[in-house]
Symmetry: C2
Subunit: 293 residues, 2 copies
């Protein structure tokens, strides 16, 4: 079986052995926004055609490839959602090379009844559901960071923070951009200073201005302002959404997860980095329920 996590920015494919072990993997920056004229079938064939030629007959896909901007729009399942619910709701898509199925997205509500949606992260969460005994808080940092609550092996609720998206916009398109024209390395002390600042009075929109004034007074070096801004945003996110006394399971790119881990610790919480291959494991788990593994 082939599993594909096809998001807005990236395409990641896994080839699984019979027991679900990853025997091949590929990753390309050809997210769905890069696919022209709806040529999803052609793109998939280009990336994994050799695996199909070598005997793979089934492809399972998750992520934004199942959105309105993707290949075909798949449903959203409503919370609570178990892994069996996802497996039962996969949607067949037309693909000449092999049998191909889309995993549905998940829809929920935040604590104030405002809608929430995700595509792809539900599969990643299911990939680590065993590691946290089916219960706990999973955080998937990124452009749109997801915080997913698991209970009894179900996704019971989740919410999204536009932290990465906001960071890029604020960094490049406000007055702060004048301080941040270099691609400076992450400075941990400045990052943690931003996290600490997020606890101050005045709110995020006020704190943003401190990036400028601290640089203006020489208190913050220009090359560390991006690290400070990152800490400010992640600090605000963590303080606003992390409940007290809950252990956080981080899933995603190691560098970013480590930053979140430090921010969570600085905000009085605790977090561990889970298997980076959560998407592969989730795809395999759903494939197993389809009888494909």
């Amino acid at each position: 079986m082939i599993g594909v996590d096809w998001g807005t920015s990236n395409f990641r494919a896994f080839r699984f052995g019979n027991t679900g072990e990853v025997i091949g993997r590929r990753s390309y920056p050809i997210g769905i926004l890069k696919v022209r004229e709806g040529k999803f079938a052609e793109t998939l064939q280009e990336q994994v055609g050799d695996w199909i030629a070598n005997g793979e007959t089934r492809v399972l896909l998750c992520g934004m490839v199942g959105s309105r901007q993707g290949w075909t729009e798949a449903n959203y399942l409503r919370c609570p959602v178990k892994i069996d619910d996802l497996a039962q709701a996969v949607m067949k898509i037309s693909f000449a090379g092999a049998e191909a199925m889309l995993i549905p997205g998940v829809m929920g509500e935040d604590s104030n009844g405002v809608p929430e949606v995700m595509r792809g992260e539900e599969t990643e969460a299911m990939g680590i559901v065993d590691d946290c005994d089916g219960c706990g808080l999973v955080c998937l940092p990124g452009t749109h960071t997801k915080w997913i609550k698991l209970r009894d092996r179900s996704i019971v609720s989740f919410l999204t923070c536009m932290t990465g998206d906001a960071f890029a916009a604020l960094r490049k398109h406000t007055i702060l951009s004048r301080l941040m024209n270099s691609e400076a390395a992450m400075d941990e002390a400045s990052f943690l200073r931003g996290v600490a600042r997020s606890a101050d009075a005045g709110g995020l929109l006020h704190h943003l201005f401190s990036v400028r004034t601290l640089a203006l007074t020489g208190d913050l070096k220009e090359e560390t302002t991006a690290s400070y801004l990152s800490g400010l945003l992640i600090g605000h996110e963590v303080r606003a959404v992390m409940p007290a006394d809950v252990h956080v399971h981080l899933v995603g790119a190691v560098q970013l997860c480590k930053l979140y881990q430090r921010a969570i610790a600085a905000c009085g919480g605790a977090a561990t980095l889970e298997d980076e291959d959560a998407a592969a494991r989730g795809l395999a788990a759903i494939g197993r329920r389809l009888g494909w593994l």
Copy 2:
């Protein structure tokens, strides 16, 4: 006397009669960022040269024209700052056409000891100091909204929120931009819905995603998403910085001040719109202390 409020984005000039009444006014979108190769003297001459030819011999300037990116860098005075302090600290600049003086900026600290700076808004605040009996909270909405505390006719402290700057960046350079490609008119109901949303749990970075999900589910019309986003940001700002039981004096463009007035009311406060000509009145008041009026 000629008074000039020369900011990052705009140039506003006033010609004053002997008693400080405005007898001529001009406004152009030629902020300091539009002035090329340091040609501030030439630009000023172009805009008010006819007034000088008609007998004006003195020009008093405030705003970002006195910043490092401006004509000449003027000092910052430290809070508390009275109108007499500003008048005593004006700085002469070289201008062939007339005697020209720059009003200094003001520097302070927020409640957590983080630096704050402003240039121009101190002059506007001094323009309405009589209207609020020298005491109260003045809010000047804009790209970088200022909240200025007055006591005994002094600026005792102030803080900045990057609300307008963040709004433009988030609107145009995040996933939300796909919803907001039209220049739709302000929709008051959606604006107030955004203000109400800002009181919910989860924080601003989470609330931003509701712009997308409410539009996705059809609960918010695409053409009203920008109004909702504006309310969300202004709501967060007001809730984070407005103390309880303080009347707010709003100074600035009438449409924007009216939005802030509605947001402040929705957050349990009260505000009045003050004289839009605060800058002119502040310039005249300082000019009077220089003996120029």
